[in-house]
Amino acid sequence: MPEPIKIRAVQQGDSTEIRILLQHPMETGLRRDQASGQKIPAHFISTFTVSAHGKVLINAQLNTSIARNPLFVFQSKGLQPGDRVRVAWSDNRGEQRADEATVVAA
């Protein structure tokens, strides 16, 4: 079971800051295991979406060159404290994870 997504959405005036921590190894496929010398296969999040009110706000496509356990920060208008923000990712092995958070006042 993939690690949960950490989401924090804070209202800042008329926009909302959405901080997303995707907990994932983000293996490039170029690294070798120290002991065996075998290549470690690529394992990375290839797409994720951020949505609210049933609509997609952000659609992201990623490559292996995104850091391990990466943090993303976005800002959006049209959200209010109490609204739910949903983040869903899928990786190159077909694993998936989705989590939600509530927008809070600053």
């Binding site: 926009s15 983000m26 490039t28 170029l30 690294r31 290839s46 797409t47 609509k55 997609v56 706000l57 952000i58 659609n59 992201a60 496509q61 990623l62 490559n63 292996t64 060159s65 995104i66 850091a67 391990r68 990466p70 943090l71 993303f72 920060v73 976005f74 800002q75 959006s76 208008k77 049209g78 899928s90 190159n92 092995r93 077909g94």
Partner: protein, 164 residues
């Protein structure tokens, strides 16, 4: 008011299109014709991520002839001691920014991320890159009229991030 309507229409069309496409894919999956991971990989490869050189990647995302723009701000460190985690912030002031693509020019696969924004989302993002060696970070912005713009910024890396 009219600008808002066109924006909504565009998003609606996009959603309708993607819904229809995923319904079709879903049907094929159910019929056992396609494996979900395969479909995703094919989709992903087409959009320039598999490209191994900057010109190839730019061509794949349709940005081979983008115009340099001062309306894109790239914030990052000047020197990074650890290429495994290079923070980067991109802010676009280009009107009607639809998407932001981030490329690390000298990485084995330059295209690092492609982000598209619905109306209401501010055209800015903070993310964390891996960098194999010192390189320019190039950002490509696509506007609503289909035109592409770019800006770049040099980041020096003292310890590469490919082995990390």
């Amino acid at each position: 008011m009219s600008a808002r309507h066109t924006g909504d229409d565009r998003l609606r069309r996009l959603l309708i299109k993607s819904t229809a496409a995923s319904a079709a894919v879903g049907a094929l999956c159910a019929a056992g014709l396609l494996k979900p991971t395969r479909v995703l990989a094919a989709e992903w490869g087409r959009s320039g991520f598999a490209a191994t050189s900057l010109p190839e990647a730019l061509k794949a995302i349709g940005a081979a002839a983008s115009a340099e723009s001062g309306a894109i701000v790239i914030k990052s460190v000047e020197i990074s001691e650890n290429g495994a985690l290079v923070p980067c912030e991109v802010i676009s002031s280009i009107p009607d920014t639809q998407s932001i693509a981030v490329l690390v020019e000298r990485n084995p696969m330059p295209l690092a991320a492609s982000l598209s924004f619905a109306e209401g989302v501010l055209p800015r993002v903070r993310l964390q890159l891996k960098m194999a060696e010192s390189s320019r970070i190039r950002v490509v912005v696509r506007a609503g009229d289909g035109k592409t713009y770019h800006a770049s910024r040099e980041v020096r890396v003292t310890l590469g991030g490919c082995g990390a």
